[in-house]
């Protein structure tokens, strides 16, 4: 065994326990320092995010193996001052190839709460960097995490897993408002109501360049408080018609039980808008805008159900990308494990080569003593011929080793080589 991991995610660990198990950056650094003392010569990386805590351990071939999963569970419990018996049922562990496949899936976002979410790549990278700084990362975890980041990049570029947006505010802005408007820095944004979703949508609008934002609420105090927080200007609810006349995009989230903007009200405002298009993101339930307004030319009205359906459609698209992403992960896992197993054959190959070289050198010396008349050029030519001969003889066993490494550690072949060529450890 060279790789082990133990961890839990939002699927297995209840939130209350996850909160106690989570590591801050400082706590993670302390835990890694403790790992180095507790398991000298072993490599360790701790990944702790809102939705998961995972500890990866590794050891080079021939060295003391990494701690088994139950020891890792105890270690995590100890670091966070928890009872190991509390963690054991909710944390799962794995070894070797399963560890690699799991890490690659995590980095690619396949194991995330929101399938394909991109933030996890940065979190995996941060975990690895922290391990490097804490000197618990080594060649094996280094290569494994590098391969994980490469896999995540492949999944992101070769599939559309992370392309489709899933949150209502992001879909509203990126898929709909941006389909109508080229830019937002010259648009007037009106937040009607002070709901939480409005602030979230405004965040995306700000990212898209929106600057001029007005907030109108029945309770003027709330509008002013929110304006101060969001860097917007408060308007008066009594001036709603005027605000609608000015607005290019409305995000509506009031708690009103009836339409706040009726068709009759909009019919009065519409001629004053001089044909400018209006995007309405009506995120309120019940709806703030009379649906008939959306039938008017130049008005693009989206209710929370419309946006929800678009999110569902995007989610289904992501699901359809899953087999392609899984195939990439399988391919990268196989490649990584093949390289890992092949690398474990290096000492045997090295000894085999050294033995052959030694024998070859002895034979050459004997030959040159018998043929003292040979000049330097002739000697070099003969030496090269010997080297070529040895390389050709070595090629078939090395190729067999590489081929065998793809399906696992080639123990049988290594033993056979050791016995056939009398290679001592």
């Amino acid at each position: 065994m060279t790789l082990a991991f133990v961890g839990g995610t939002h699927r297995t660990v209840p939130l209350a326990l996850r909160e106690r198990l989570a590591f801050s950056t400082e706590q993670a650094a302390e835990a890694l320092a403790r790992f180095r003392e507790r398991f000298p010569g072993r490599e360790g990386v701790l990944l702790s995010t809102c939705n998961r805590v995972e500890l990866y351990a590794a050891a080079a071939a021939g060295a003391e193996p990494p701690p088994p999963p139950d020891q890792l569970v105890s270690f995590l419990a100890e670091c966070r001052g928890l009872d190991a018996g509390l963690l054991a049922p909710v944390l799962s562990g794995d070894r070797d190839v399963a560890v690699v496949r799991h890490l690659f899936s995590v980095a690619a976002g396949l194991d995330s709460m929101v399938l394909g979410e991109p933030q996890i790549v940065a979190q995996v990278k941060q975990a690895w960097t922290l391990a490097q700084e804490s000197r618990t990362s080594g060649p094996l975890t280094g290569e494994m995490f590098q391969a994980a980041l490469r896999t995540a990049k492949r999944v992101a570029t070769e599939t559309a897993l992370g392309r489709e947006r899933l949150s209502i505010p992001s879909v509203a802005v990126a898929d709909f408002a941006s389909g109508v408007f080229e830019r937002f820095d010259d648009k007037q944004i009106l937040l009607l109501g002070a709901g939480k979703m409005a602030a979230e949508t405004l965040r995306y609008l700000r990212q898209a360049g929106a600057r001029d934002v007005r907030i109108v609420n029945r309770t003027a105090g709330r509008a002013e408080a929110l304006s101060g927080r969001l860097g917007a200007t408060a308007g008066r609810f009594e001036d709603l018609a005027l605000e609608l006349r000015r607005a290019d995009l409305v995000v509506s989230t009031t708690g009103a039980t009836e339409h706040v903007v009726t068709d009759a009200l909009f019919a009065r405002v519409e001629p004053l808008r001089e044909g400018r298009p209006l995007v309405v993101l009506d995120l309120a339930v019940p709806r703030d805008f009379d649906p008939r307004i959306g039938e008017r030319p130049g008005v693009w009205l989206y209710s929370i159900d419309d946006l929800g359906k678009a999110c569902d459609s995007n989610r289904r698209r992501r699901q359809r990308e899953l087999p392609a992403a899984q195939a990439i992960i399988d391919e990268e896992t196989e490649r990584f494990m093949g390289d890992l197993h092949h690398r474990s054959t290096a000492p045997v190959i090295e000894r085999l080569r050294a033995g052959w070289n030694e024998t070859g050198e002895a034979e050459l010396e004997r030959l040159f003593r018998r043929l003292p008349g040979l000049d330097e050029a002739a000697r070099a030519e003969i030496r090269q011929a010997f080297d070529r001969y040895a390389a050709k003889l070595l090629h078939p066993p090395l190729a067999s080793l590489r081929s065998e490494s793809r399906s696992g550690p080639p123990h049988g072949l290594l033993d056979a080589l050791k016995r056939l060529f009398d290679l001592k450890d």
């Binding site: 898929d175 709909f176 389909g179 109508v180 030319p297 989206y302």
Partner: protein, 297 residues
């Protein structure tokens, strides 16, 4: 080098554009990391071959360079292919080529069935002829770009009205930008087509005054169709302008841009298949009669 240049044929760049179009169309079917690069490579290769072909035609022309119907269609196709490549490089996620490359291929097809004989030209009318041709070329390009923007607007508006997220690999520009391009293209097309038509009238008047054989009757089908096209384009530009401050103005502009392209296509087809004296070189017998009987200017 000369041998290489003379070996470039219309098929070379038409095939390159065709492959680029196929790459662009495949966006709708599957994802690929190399498709974008392949599409740009084929479009660029086609454009290079197209440029070299036109350069070769210009260098070896017996008369004024690029002065046949064949050359003018290829020149229009070249401008649109260049525009398509530029827009693709500037907006890699927008399938501009899907809309522009079919037009490019259509113009190349029109060139293939057009006359390769140079337009009749005398030193006195060369400048007016060049002005006439250049404005008509600019009008054709503007109408095409407007139509592409118009059809994209209608696609995008349909998608937004149905409240559907964008199709994968088929992210179109915003309605705001498309409406701007469609409206502006209509204006440019109206101005340049009018200038092209007026310069054609001046050209014909000069030919008539000098009694030259290139004179085209005022009732020639080409004159009539160009007049009708100009009238349509001017009307479309005025209507688009007049409705620009109405809520349905962008939709009107998009539809007018598409209708203008249909009018241009009909006009081109009419020009290809209807009998005309426009741009037809005089026969040897006509030329002899003309020289014998030509009155001193």
């Amino acid at each position: 080098m000369i041998e290489f240049l003379s070996g470039i044929s219309v098929v070379c760049f038409a095939a390159s554009y065709g492959v680029a179009l196929a790459c662009e169309a495949s966006r709708l079917v599957f994802r690929s990391g190399v498709r974008g690069a392949a599409m740009i490579a084929f479009a660029a290769a086609g454009l290079v071959a197209h440029t070299l072909f036109l350069a070769w035609r210009a260098a070896t022309a017996p008369a004024i360079p690029l002065s046949s119907a064949f050359d003018w269609y290829l020149l229009a196709a070249w401008l649109l292919a260049g525009g398509s490549l530029w827009l693709t490089l500037a907006n890699p996620r927008t399938p501009v080529g899907l809309f522009l490359l079919p037009v490019v291929l259509g113009l190349i097809g029109a060139a293939q069935v057009s006359s390769r004989d140079p337009f009749p030209q005398s030193p006195a009318t060369q400048i007016w002829g060049a002005v006439h041709g250049s404005f008509n070329l600019a009008a054709s390009v503007a109408v095409t770009l407007g139509a592409v923007a118009g059809i994209m607007w209608l696609f995008q508006a349909g998608r937004l009205a149905r409240k559907e997220p964008p199709l994968r690999g088929f992210r179109l520009p915003s309605l705001e930008r498309l409406a701007h391009v469609a409206g502006r293209s209509l204006s440019v097309a109206a101005w340049t087509a009018s200038a092209g038509f007026l310069s054609g009238i001046v050209l014909n008047a000069v030919n008539r005054r000098r009694g030259l054989l290139e004179t085209v009757p005022w009732t020639d089908p080409v004159v009539l169709r160009m007049g009708a096209l100009v009238a349509w384009l001017v009307t479309a530009a005025i209507v688009a302008r007049a409705t620009s401050r109405r809520a349905d103005g962008p939709r009107t502009a998009a539809r007018l841009a598409l209708a203008s392209f249909a009018a241009l296509t009909l006009s081109i087809l009419w020009g290809l298949f209807a009998p005309t004296r426009h741009g037809v070189p005089p026969t040897a017998a006509q030329a002899t009669r003309s020289v014998d009987g030509e009155a001193a200017p």
